[in-house]
Structures are given as structure tokens and as C-alpha cells.
């Protein structure tokens, strides 16, 4: 199956800009389906980015983060060709991870 994680990490000098989009329903637990039953909360709780074994960014998310969540940040100290490891875990214990090459 295709990864749920899309990443763009682009180095510009010493700063690397990272954008990630993750395929996830991010159900809030406040929405009802067509039959009127509450759709249980299902959302990513933590999303982590690591470069050379060092964490460079950690997101703690609640159900108010939009469906197919997006995040953008930047960090220093990486070079083109370095690898960035991205992983998430949700409130049901599901997880995914991937590695992206910095461009």
C-alpha cells in the first residue's frame, strides 16, 4: 500500500524547509454519519520528524487538526541528500513512517 505520508524537504543554504501532508480522516468524534450515528474520534496524536537520529520537530495533535493534515516548518543543519524520517501514531494505535531525501 502506498504510504500515507507525503513530504517535501528542500534545503536552501543551511535551512531546510519541510512540508508534509498525511492521509488521515482526523475524525473529531463530534460528527454524525448519514444514519445519525456518531463517527468515533480517530485522529493522529503525534507526528515526529528526525534528522540524523535527532528529533527536529514534534507535533501533538488533537481532533481539531483538519482532515489530511498538513504542516510546514524549517530547521537548520541539514544538507541536500540527507534523510529525514517521518512517523505518526494515532489514537487507535495505528502508525506509519517513511523516509524522505532532502532535496
Amino acid at each position: 500500500m502506498a504510504s500515507t505520508i507525503r513530504v517535501r524537504a528542500i534545503a536552501n543554504g543551511d535551512t531546510t524547509e519541510v512540508q508534509a501532508l498525511i492521509q488521515h480522516p482526523m475524525d473529531s468524534g463530534f460528527v454524525k454519519d448519514a444514519q445519525g450515528a456518531v463517527i468515533p474520534a480517530h485522529f493522529i496524536q503525534q507526528l515526529s520528524f528526525e534528522h540524523n537520529g535527532k528529533r527536529v520537530f514534534l507535533a501533538d495533535w488533537g481532533p481539531a487538526v483538519a482532515k489530511d493534515p498538513y504542516v510546514k516548518f524549517a530547521f537548520k543543519g541539514a544538507a541536500k541528500g540527507d534523510e529525514l524520517k517521518i512517523s505518526w501514531v494515532d489514537n487507535k494505535g495505528a502508525s506509519d513512517s517513511t523516509t524522505a531525501k532532502i532535496q
Binding site: 507525503r6 482532515k67 498538513y70 510546514k72
Partner: protein, 282 residues
């Protein structure tokens, strides 16, 4: 023009006018398209012609910024990838979608819909994709669900920037289809008594409840679209159906003759404007 002629006819002898009137009443798609484009360009002098394909985002600055933010990593990206995979996956008989289209289906979105002289009907991209499936022994896809939207998203993406190039051949049936689509566009219907034009010609840029109305010029160039309101993708079929139901009119079946003719008309009058799909919309 017609108005002018009517005035003139009141002033002059009828015999002079009779010969002029039929000519001006005959369907003239090229003149329609020019008048259509001029109407929008005049109404929105600050909007560049090719920007009309960006719908409500060409009309409102605050929304445009939100759109640019979305386009940094667009929400249709997953559909685009799914469509690319689907497009390449062979049918059970070993053939693929590419075998059904000119240039293997790459960069051809701007040529749809077209009038098929053999079948005597308008062929939209969505219809062509399903005819391709059935011709190869596969069940057709739903016109309003994700798979069809993913396929058209991919085909639009490979055609981005190419101007709509819709042709109306010298065939009375093609002209009739165009005229039927035009009639559908301007006819009021439903409990709210709205025509397509009530919103998308008279009121683009204005709010209808929470939404900013898109201009009809270029409105199909961005299809299919990811709508935040749908939290997912939608085809042209889906958009027409929901437009009808939002104005409390009875929607037609997806890919009905009226809808296909409407798509023919709307695409033709947007000739020259670039394909921008897949798009993201509120």
C-alpha cells in the same frame, strides 16, 4: 445586437429588416463565446483572463490567500496519485486507458467534450473513460465517486496550461447540442427559480450564503475539484448535480444528454482559457 436591430426595425420599413433578422437569430457559437468572454472581462477589469479559471479565488483576496496556502501542498494530491496508478493499471484484457485516447490520454483534457459524428452525441471525458472501460469488458465507474474523479484529475493534470480547444463541427446535430446546452444554462428551474446563469453570470464574486460564487467563464477548467465542503473530490457530474439540488431543482442523471450538452456549451465558451485542474475549492 438583437436589441439594436429591433430598434432599427421599428424605424425602418419591414421589408428591409426581414432579410437581416434571420441571420442574427441563427446560432453563432463563435459570436456567443466572444460576447461571453467580453461580458466577464468588462465586469471584472482587474481579473486577468487566464485567472478566471481559478473561480472564487479570482474574485476575493482573502480567499485567494487561503487557496495559495492550500496549493502549497494541495488536498487533491492523493487523488492525483491514485488516478495516475489507475490510469496505468491494465484491464483484465491487458489493455489500458491509454489505448482508448489520442496521445495515450496524456495532455488531451482540453479537447473534451467533443461532438462524435458517428454516435451523433457529445462525448465528455467522463463518458469516454467509462466507454473505454465497457469496451474492454470492465464495469463502468460511478460518475460521482472518487475513482472517476481521480482519473480525470490525472488527465487534467497532464493537460495543465493547455487552452480549452472545443470544436463545433459543421453538423446541425452538433449545433443543436450546443444550443441545447446553452438553453439549459440560461433556463430558470427549481423552487428557487434560478438558472445556472443567475449565479455564475449575474453574481460571480458575490456571496451566496457562505460561498463566493465562481464566474461561469473558465468554471470547468479546474475540474475535477477537491471541495473542502465535500472533504473529497468531485467530478463535473457531481458538481452539476449538486448545483441543481442547491437551487432546489431536480438534478438529472449523471451524464444525461442535457448535462453533456451543458458541458459542451460551457467548455466551448471558455475556449482559449487554460486547463487548471485538478482544483481545490471551498
Amino acid at each position: 445586437m438583437r436589441f439594436v436591430i429591433a430598434l432599427v426595425s421599428a424605424a425602418l420599413a419591414a421589408s428591409v429588416i426581414v432579410s437581416a433578422a434571420p441571420a442574427s437569430d441563427a446560432p453563432d457559437p463563435a459570436a456567443d463565446a466572444e460576447a461571453f468572454r467580453n461580458y466577464f472581462v468588462t465586469k471584472f477589469p482587474k481579473v486577468k483572463l487566464e485567472d478566471f479559471v481559478n473561480g472564487p479565488y479570482s474574485m476575493n483576496k482573502d480567499m485567494r490567500r487561503q487557496w495559495q496556502e492550500k496549493e502549497e501542498f494541495p488536498p487533491y494530491e492523493f487523488a492525483l496519485e491514485a488516478g495516475k496508478e489507475m490510469f496505468a493499471a491494465p484491464f483484465k484484457n491487458g489493455k489500458t486507458y491509454a489505448d482508448c485516447f489520442e496521445n495515450g490520454g496524456i495532455g488531451v483534457r482540453q479537447n473534451f467534450p467533443y461532438f462524435d459524428a458517428k454516435q451523433g452525441e457529445v462525448i465528455t471525458l467522463e463518458l469516454a473513460l467509462n466507454r473505454c472501460r465497457t469496451a474492454n469488458g470492465e464495469a463502468p465507474l460511478s460518475y460521482v465517486k472518487d475513482e472517476m474523479a481521480s482519473l480525470t484529475a490525472y488527465m487534467a493534470f497532464t493537460s495543465r496550461g493547455k487552452p480549452f480547444d472545443i470544436k463545433i463541427p459543421d453538423d446541425p446535430r452538433a449545433l443543436a447540442a450546443y444550443e441545447n446546452g446553452k438553453r439549459y444554462f440560461y433556463t430558470r428551474r427549481g423552487q428557487l427559480n434560478f438558472s445556472c446563469a443567475s449565479c455564475h453570470v449575474q453574481s460571480p464574486g458575490e456571496r451566496l450564503r457562505a460561498e463566493i460564487l465562481a464566474p461561469a467563464l473558465g468554471i470547468l477548467n479546474a475540474m475535477p475539484i477537491y471541495r473542502s465542503e465535500w472533504a473529497g473530490m468531485g467530478t463535473i457530474s457531481r458538481r452539476f448535480i449538486t448545483c441543481n439540488s442547491q437551487t432546489r431543482a431536480v438534478p438529472e442523471e449523471a451524464q444525461s444528454e442535457d448535462y453533456r450538452d451543458l458541458e459542451y456549451f460551457l467548455s466551448y465558451v471558455s475556449n482559449g482559457l487554460p486547463i487548471s485542474g485538478p482544483g481545490a475549492r471551498p
